[in-house]
């Protein structure tokens, strides 16, 4: 997990996002115990209140759940929850930026779509050797 103190995104949101990415990447699985507030604070050198806020955000987002006392656990169905939200928010935001820049450069719908297709082919080629 990495947070960037120079980024404008608040640190607690960066923490929440980083945990979500660990879940998407399979490092944390549904039903697993999440990293504790103190471990996050210690390793990233941030105030424990900030770490707690990041964890709270994931409880609000329905990704983490408090079971058996104090331990925060990755909820069943967290993966789908994160995916849906990211498609909606993160991808939506990137698309918005992409389209704005394309329009500024005078690139039309067809040209943009073919560029996206080419980039996707490139990406899958790299992935599969």
């Amino acid at each position: 997990m990495k947070v960037d103190f120079n980024q404008i995104t608040p640190i607690y949101i960066q923490i929440a996002d980083a945990i979500e990415n660990d879940i998407l990447d399979g490092i944390l699985k549904e039903g697993d115990k999440c990293y504790s507030q103190l471990v996050i604070a210690k390793e990233l050198n941030i105030n424990p209140a900030t770490a707690a806020k990041g964890i709270r955000l994931l409880v609000e987002r329905g990704v983490l759940d408090k079971v058996r006392g104090q331990a925060m656990t990755v909820k069943e169905g967290a993966m789908a929850e994160i995916r849906n939200r990211k498609v909606e928010e993160t991808l939506g935001e990137i698309l918005h930026t992409l389209i704005k820049e394309a329009l500024r450069l005078g690139i039309g719908e067809e040209e943009l779509i073919s560029k996206v297709r080419a980039a996707m082919e490139e990406e899958s080629k790299e992935k599969h050797g």
């Binding site: 404008i8 608040p10 210690k42 806020k53």
Partner: protein, 301 residues
Amino acid sequence: MEKYIVEANDISVKYRHNKKALEHFNLKINENQMIGLIGANGSGKTTFFKLCDGLLSNNEGDLKVLVGSVVKDLEVRKEVIYSFNKLPVAQNQKLEQILKMYDYMYDKFDLDFAKKSLEIFEIPLDSKVKNLSTGIESVFHFICAIATRVKLTMLDEPFNGIDIEKRKMAYEVLLRDYMEHPRTIIVSNHNLGEMEHLLSEMVLIDRGHVVFYKEMDEVREMLFRVDGTEEQLKQLVGKGKILREKQGAISSFIIGEGSVNSDFAREAIKLGLSVSPVEPEDVCVYLTGSNKADQLDSLWD
């Protein structure tokens, strides 16, 4: 529910010539927080610390530290430390002797912790205070203050003169020890950007009074900046409170009040302008600054 470790009610402190160091100063400090005390030179930070340590007395108002008076109650006295980088200790004494004094004065002083920390910072116990460099002297006093583990720890510019590597280590010592032994720690530091992520709360003071006392995340949502051309920025006039405007040939911006999600900021976003949050360090400058930086151009006229 809420427990305060310091309660300052309408405090005034006058120095010679009737100059007021603190005026109508009101502050209730929450227990077990890591708090940054921020303010320009001469804003009253040190006066406030000295007051809470019993080194100064107030001319007006009431001050409660822990359960009572830091001057009269011994049990309060023993739970408060005020430390700064040039503490007036005997210059000829060896560090080991000073540690022993701390150990004698503070019940919870962790001598082992202090010795081990000094070893990690490569500060020999048999060196004398007068032979320490500015930065090392700062590290030494900082370690001693942390090792006391008292309920109220006040550190006045503790990182002065410390090199970047040791400064980062010191930040880590501060945070880790706070997590292991939760207590109230108030730190004044001009380098807010470097340590803001360690803090849970922040007090901004200006000319002897409190501007605000807020959680760090609230501070990050106080102001925003909009970049655009002079023409574009003009459209924002009257839509919200503008704290500062800067006009240049190639770059103009305004500082608006509110978070990047406020109605005011949304107006700017709607106009297609670039909106970004203002960092805590700059929040302080915009809220208390004298605007003197704008006069610098006159130096080279």
